[in-house]
């Protein structure tokens, strides 16, 4: 991804900013400009909100075959996290042995390096999840 393409999503990637529908109160991450339930009634009413960052593992996989930018990390754990706010995020689980990850495990979001633009390019940061201790 190019610098600008990553940069413009930084607010959500760094600070877990999603949107809340001002009409029905449902929460979304990443931000959406229209609520899939309220449709037109939600236009102009989608407000920013901040996820607390805690949740539990809904499902996970230990990845052995990975694209070049994740080569040094493998095997790594990718998971879908059910956040306490009821929203699901896809991200890596770190700071534990892959064999220790279980469905239902409590996790906490943290900010880490998630990728880079080749060996000498810009570094991308974003959320990953670590066991909640």
């Amino acid at each position: 991804m190019t610098v600008a393409r990553f940069w413009r999503e930084n607010e959500s990637r760094y600070n877990l900013i999603g949107t809340k529908c001002g009409n029905c109160g449902r929460l979304y991450f990443p931000p959406r400009s229209v609520c899939p339930v309220c449709h037109r009634k939600s236009l102009g009413k989608m407000e920013h909100f901040h996820l607390e960052g805690k949740g539990e593992v809904l499902s996970f996989s230990i990845v052995h075959d990975a694209p070049s930018q994740f080569e040094l990390q493998k095997p790594y754990v990718i998971a879908i996290i059910m956040m306490d706010e009821g929203i699901r995020l896809t991200g890596q689980i770190i700071d534990c042995e892959p064999a220790d990850v279980t469905i239902g495990m409590r996790v906490q979001a943290t900010i880490r390096k998630v990728g880079e633009e080749g060996p000498s390019g810009i570094i991308h940061y974003g959320y990953k999840f670590m066991p909640l201790r």
């Binding site: 991804m1 990443p30 809904l58 499902s59 990845v63 990718i78 896809t90 991308h124 959320y127």
Partner: protein, 389 residues
């Protein structure tokens, strides 16, 4: 809406076809279909081509005009349209061709599907496949395409007690079917132990849980039913076409152990065809991973939710069972040249409904169903075909 028939089919062998280019493959399948339909060429009103990512695989866009040109149709100036919906590109191209004929806009339409995946290395090829997922919120965080299906598999195991052995039996069955198909990429049977011991790709999925990287093409000729007998004695009727979409990212679904796009597309198609899952004898479903076939046979209504793995292990989806699933070998053994896959499914059903499927013939097949998926279930196409007596 008019009745529409398939009057011609053509398909190439699938595999690592180093000596054939994208256009070679597309033209080979297209000319075979046109020949099968006894057309001379000038009767063709329009062309649709399913293709996911020629821009990335062979750095060539503008695929509609390219295939029309090298099929010898440039001087006829026919409308030529490329259709894309990731893994469902072929199935969606078929639907566009079907709608064009059913609407009365065109009488005879050729629909092809093609992908040339091995002109890039396998790592890059896998990355290109992953563009079907959400690049900004899934793959950028390290979720590969197999990994997303592994998330589905792990959760399915957790919720329903599905086992790795049951998933492995999808691969064993489809390789067995593939061994009966001379055009399959893999024509060798495999044992369950080989699937379970294959190198891990994204746990719990191993290499033999994944469909291969393939080159290949397939094509069909569609014609309005009232003119079909002019060209063939064995028209196959398009009974229904259903399409549905869902969230692009897997995580955003209410459940990750079902594809709502599949069940909605199936419901729409069954309604149009005036039948249900019990009226289908042969089905080609989207088994890009072993878990995908288990989801498919559940979401299409062949088995209750959670029982797809058990049914597969019991042989209820094999040749000779009440519903024969993936007689071609499926994506797993027949191969998965992405844009060609949805058309190849339809071609297999036509072989079956004409009684031309050789050693893998399903006796007495009256209706066949094709199920083609894009991404992790963000697009699903369900097509139902019927024999014309």
């Amino acid at each position: 809406m008019r009745d529409v028939a398939i009057i011609g089919i053509g398909d190439t062998k699938f595999g690592e076809l180093w000596d054939q280019s994208f256009r070679d493959l597309g033209i080979q399948a297209g000319l075979a279909a046109v020949g099968d339909a006894n057309l001379s060429g000038e009767e063709i009103d329009a062309l649709y081509v399913g293709n996911m990512s020629a821009g990335k695989f062979i750095e060539q866009e503008h695929i509609g005009a390219l295939i029309a040109d090298y099929s010898g149709l440039a001087r006829d100036n026919i409308p030529a349209t490329r259709v894309e919906a990731a893994g469902a590109s072929g199935g969606l191209a078929f639907r566009q061709g079907y709608l064009a004929v059913a609407s009365g806009m065109h009488d005879i339409v050729v629909v092809g599907g093609a992908e040339k995946m091995t002109d890039v290395g396998d790592v890059l090829s896998t990355e290109i496949q992953a563009t079907a997922a959400d690049q900004q919120w899934e793959t950028a965080f390290g979720a590969t395409f197999p990994a997303l299906h592994a998330l589905i598999a792990r959760r399915h195991m957790h919720e329903f007690g599905t086992t790795r052995e049951q998933m492995g039996m999808v691969a064993v069955k489809n390789h067995k079917h593939g061994s009966l198909n001379p055009k399959a990429q893999y024509q060798k049977e495999i044992k369950l132990d080989a699937v379970l011991k294959s190198p891990p790709v994204a746990e719990p999925l191993g290499m033999f849980d994944c469909a291969p990287i393939s080159d290949g093409a397939a094509a069909v000729v569609l014609c309005c039913m009232d003119k079909a007998r002019k060209y063939t004695d064995t028209p196959v009727k398009v009974l229904a076409s259903g399409q549905a979409s869902d969230t692009l990212a897997l995580a955003h679904r209410e459940s990750i152990t079902r594809f709502d796009a599949t069940s909605v597309a199936a419901r729409r198609a069954f309604k149009q065809a005036g039948t249900d899952a019990s009226g289908i004898q042969v089905a080609e479903v989207h088994d890009n991973f072993t878990i995908s076939e288990i989801l498919a046979v559940e979401d299409l209504g062949f088995f209750p939710k959670g029982e797809g793995g058990k049914a597969t292990a019991e042989g209820q989806t094999a040749l000779g069972a009440k519903i024969a699933v993936n007689t071609s070998g499926g994506l797993k053994a027949r191969g998965d040249p992405i844009g060609a896959t949805g058309i190849a499914q339809v071609v297999e059903l036509v072989y079956q409904l004409r009684g031309q499927a050789g050693k893998r013939q399903v006796a007495g097949a009256e209706r066949g169903l094709a199920h083609n998926v894009g991404g992790t279930g963000a697009t699903a196409i369900v097509t139902i075909l019927g024999r014309v007596n």
